[in-house]
Symmetry: C2
Subunit: 120 residues, 2 copies
Amino acid sequence: MKISEVAELTGLSVSTIRFYEKSGLCPFIQRGADGKRRFSKTDADWLGLLASLRATGMPMSEMRTFADLYASGDATIPKRRATLLAHRQRLAARQAELERCRTILDRKLQKYEEIMKDQT
Amino acid sequence: MKISEVAELTGLSVSTIRFYEKSGLCPFIQRGADGKRRFSKTDADWLGLLASLRATGMPMSEMRTFADLYASGDATIPKRRATLLAHRQRLAARQAELERCRTILDRKLQKYEEIMKDQT
DNA sequence: CGCTTGACCTAAAGCAGCTTCAGGTCGGTA
DNA sequence: TACCGACCTGAAGCTGCTTTAGGTCAAGCG
């Protein structure tokens, strides 16, 4: 698989994938004889997971740690699980905050509507 | 009201409030004779709204436009309403994406659990 | 009275997480 | 053969803050 396909698949940009590799989030991507990156299905899945983690606000430093665990094999699965569990907590908090902000916006919109009604 | 109190109230940091003023998101904050910022209740409410907009991902450029409208008085309320309506759409999309990511994380966690069970 | 402490101030540098740009190498096609 | 498009690299640029360095001033303490 080539980089443009992985970008398409994961929603990450081609630049971001290269940037992630340089940052050590996927240092194991192979190259063809032509020097171009060749992604296995597993690589693509991994990048997809990274995309979800980033989209939900995991800092790169933590993703880096997570990637190091991933690269060390199945023995690190309990640690990875713990990381994801902690992250899920933060995600829930984030979702709650967005919901709170949504009601604030909705209330503000209602106020606008009242003012507009009063003025006609 | 002083800046530390507004920070407490809105959840923004003192630095962020100063930064927002410099960026034109609240250029109308008064100063006391001592040169310190003095915030009215209205100012604090405005910053609270800004905080919600930022927390939900509105870019500063758009907040800037929104702030300019706010500073121009009630006549701009229809435009402000339109801005918030559009933003609410994006917020809904964002919430949907977080939800999607949450199920991905949950599935990954389940896989980890299966692997750990198999290995015992 | 002088001295420190703490809240405020500014301007500028630093940081995270990308994106964009400049410049170069290929393989395929008109 | 000459160009196009996809890939490559390294470096600079961008956004949205945070941190740092350096300064003012009022309050409180020995």
